[in-house]
């Protein structure tokens, strides 16, 4: 009979309802949402059938915020209040984004190293708030499709996002009223969408050429976990640059070069994009440019011509690829799969050059615009609990290796870092000496080789090992980490079956505050600690002196001392005994010295007496001959 958990009222009588979860790709230029329905992940579109939501938010005075395509026009009409590419500012201080900020029309408001806010008619808006608006629209879209509010979401973030940037993303979700099940790195999400997590262990490359950014990541998949080995990229290179290259060529060819306005530039860019897209399938396309002032130009653009224009840009992505491989310490031959992410990877030349570089056929079967969101949706579906336990994957991992101390002060790793939890691992150890009956087990956490460099978690002992020749005992030590990160370690001697175990909570050992207060205490109480220690030492000294005196009085008191002398010594001893009970270290010290002085004569006499007795009836020569013997 399986173990049961307490359910909510009435729920154990019916099948638990399917919970609503979605995956969100919160991108620099576009965002989208996907969910799993009937076992299939699919991206959700808005009422007009658009899956991609431009990551643009337009703030207006006393009017609702516009998000997505509705806000696009604002980029020209109202650039100060229309925010785009806010992802670049997430979790960053103004000093970090200064260079970028100067290229944008926004008025940044910032104090110190805080995340900059952007001044708009609707107040000062932080990038987190703007991101929240985008998330809200996507969550609404998913809610409508799933028939109710979302229970949880997985949001993707670039692999290189640091804690602050991840926290900012998570805050944005909180503002949008979403429960974040997990932040998933974008390349990992792509790998999940391709089902690489169901496949064999291996090293994979995710090549992500988006609208405005390029990222390449090297992932290693093993034992159910994706580890990002290295990332590289160019935050100012994307599909928009390809469009620009084509547009510039068109303007130059048409001779319209410099004297055209904003609206015409947009028109040319749109035309360039169209041409680029149709050349993905066709060998040539006709471009017809009609300017607002009535000028018209038309030409045929062939695929090879277009490739000439964009080739230098695509070649720029190969240097980061090389760098990522180098950083990851991975050779080209080790790479199993190359995944294409981002709309720009639809351009055949991108696939060709990337394929050449990695000498393999890159995957693009899943829509590169959606693949990240689809992977996130698959994760969300699992995390919210819509899948049976057996399908669990990409669980939480232990951040640092767990192991134990072996002879020579070395750390033996039992569970390596990035292992998914829950997990049980066992390893066999043996005795070091003949007849060894106990084994001390020192549990450690960390990546270093020497135990001194790792964090000590606990120590315990296994006793009652039957005496055997060194190396013949078989001691099985198992490490078990449950779903809450609770570690328990047990040791079992296999022949007799003696057992011992301990439970530890590695990740929650001490909070930062506790550690800090412990350190502070050790400084604050340093004086007291030392005084305490000195008093304790003095008291021990007094005890020893009194004991020695009492023993001496017992044996020789009557014989070597007269009544007066005896009384004087007893008095001094009483004084010391009284002070011993108190905590005046200085007085105690004095009393000890006093007693030693008082008893000096007595000690002298005892010494003389014993020498006399030892020598009585002997000739000095006896001792000399003894020495020579």
């Amino acid at each position: 009979m399986s173990l049961l958990q307490i359910s909510e009222p009435g729920q154990s009588l019916t099948k638990p309802p399917r919970r609503r979860a979605a995956g969100i790709d919160l991108g620099t230029t576009h965002s989208l949402v996907a969910t799993v329905r009937a076992g299939q992940a699919l991206a959700l579109s808005d009422d007009d059938g658009n899956v991609l939501l431009p990551s643009v938010v337009r703030y207006r005075q006393a009017q609702p915020v516009l998000v997505g395509s509705a806000a696009l026009d604002g980029q020209i009409e109202d650039p100060l209040n229309t925010l785009s590419s806010v992802k670049r500012f997430m979790g960053r201080g103004l000093s970090e984004v200064d260079r970028l900020a100067q290229q944008l029309p926004y008025q940044f408001v910032a104090e110190g190293d805080e995340m900059p806010r952007i001044h708009t008619v609707a107040g000062d808006i932080s990038p987190v708030q703007a991101s929240a608006e985008i998330l809200r629209v996507l969550a609404e879209r998913a809610g409508t499709a799933l028939g109710g509010e979302l229970d949880g979401v997985v949001i993707t973030v670039p692999a290189y996002f640091d804690d602050a940037q991840r926290q900012a993303t998570s805050d944005a979700a909180k503002i949008a009223g979403l429960q974040v099940l997990r932040l998933l790195s974008e390349p990992t999400a792509a790998a999940v969408a391709y089902g690489l997590d169901q496949g064999a262990a291996g090293v994979h490359v995710v090549y992500d050429l988006g609208g405005g950014t390029f990222d390449v990541s090297v992932l290693r998949f093993s034992k159910g976990v994706f580890e990002v080995l290295a990332t590289a990229g160019n935050s100012a290179l994307g599909g928009d640059d390809l469009d620009r290259a084509i547009a510039e060529w068109m303007l130059a060819e048409a001779g319209f070069a410099d004297d055209i306005g904003h609206a015409d530039i947009r028109r040319v860019l749109a035309l360039a994009r169209q041409a680029k897209e149709s050349l993905s399938d066709e060998e040539e396309t006709r471009v017809e440019l009609v300017l607002t002032d009535g000028r018209v130009w038309s030409a045929l653009l062939s695929r090879s011509q277009c490739q000439q224009l964009i080739r230098p840009l695509i070649e720029q992505t190969l240097a980061p690829c090389r760098l990522a491989l180098q950083d990851a310490g991975v050779a080209l031959s080790e790479i199993s799969e190359v995944l294409m992410v981002g709309g720009s990877t639809r351009v055949p030349l991108v696939r060709e050059l990337v394929g050449e570089f990695f000498s393999c056929q890159p995957h693009i079967d899943i829509d590169p615009d959606k693949v990240v969101a689809l992977g996130a949706a698959i994760q969300a579906d699992i995390l919210i609990g819509n899948k049976p336990d057996s399908d669990m994957l990409l669980l939480d991992v232990i951040p640092l290796s767990l192991g134990l101390e072996t002879m020579g002060g070395l750390m033996e790793k039992v569970i390596p870092k990035n292992t998914t939890i829950p997990v049980v691992r066992a390893q066999e150890f043996t005795t070091y000496k003949d007849g060894q009956t106990a084994l001390s087990i020192h549990v450690l956490q960390g990546e270093r080789e020497l135990i001194a460099d790792n964090r000590s978690l606990a120590r315990f002992e296994l006793r009652g090992i039957p005496p055997m020749v060194a190396g013949s005992a078989r001691i099985r030590v198992s490490f078990q980490v449950d779903a809450d990160g609770l570690l328990s370690v047990s040791a079992r001697e296999e022949t007799e079956g003696v057992e011992s175990h301990i439970q530890i909570k590695p990740s929650y050992g001490l909070t930062d505050d506790e550690v800090e207060s412990m350190l502070r205490d050790s400084l604050t109480y340093a004086r007291e600690d030392i005084d305490q220690r000195r008093l304790r030492e003095r008291q021990l000294e007094a005890d020893q002196t009194l004991e020695a005196l009492a023993a001496a009085l017992m044996t020789d008191g009557q014989r070597l001392l007269d009544d007066d002398e005896r009384q004087q010594l007893t008095q001094a001893a009483d004084v010391l005994r009284q002070l011993r009970a108190g905590d005046d270290e200085a007085a105690l010290q004095q009393a000890i010295e006093n007693l030693e002085r008082e008893s000096a004569t007595f000690a002298q006499r005892r010494m003389d007496d014993s020498i006399r007795r030892a020598l009585a009836g002997h000739d000095v020569n006896d001792f000399l001959s003894n020495d020579n013997a």
Partner: protein
Amino acid sequence: MAITLTDAAVKHVRGFLDKRGKGEGLRLGVKTSGCSGLAYVLEVFEQADDSDVIFEFDEIKVAIDPKSLVYLDGTELDYRKEGLNEGFKFNNPNEQASCGCGESFTV
């Protein structure tokens, strides 16, 4: 007719109720399900039915509907850890067989 709760079970029920913040007590019962006929019900109750039989263990109320009580008579509810799993276990003397998946049992 009666049932018992082990100390561990009482402790975990109390912990669960405290954490949940509301709930009168624990409802035990049986329902038809699974491949072997019956399955146990283990849930919180907000309000007992008039027909319920109420037991009390250390201030923890346990409600059982009279029909279920017939199947549960003599049962000891335990809380235990088995490897990585932990949860409640019904030690039911009436249980004749339970199915492989552990979902259901027969009396």
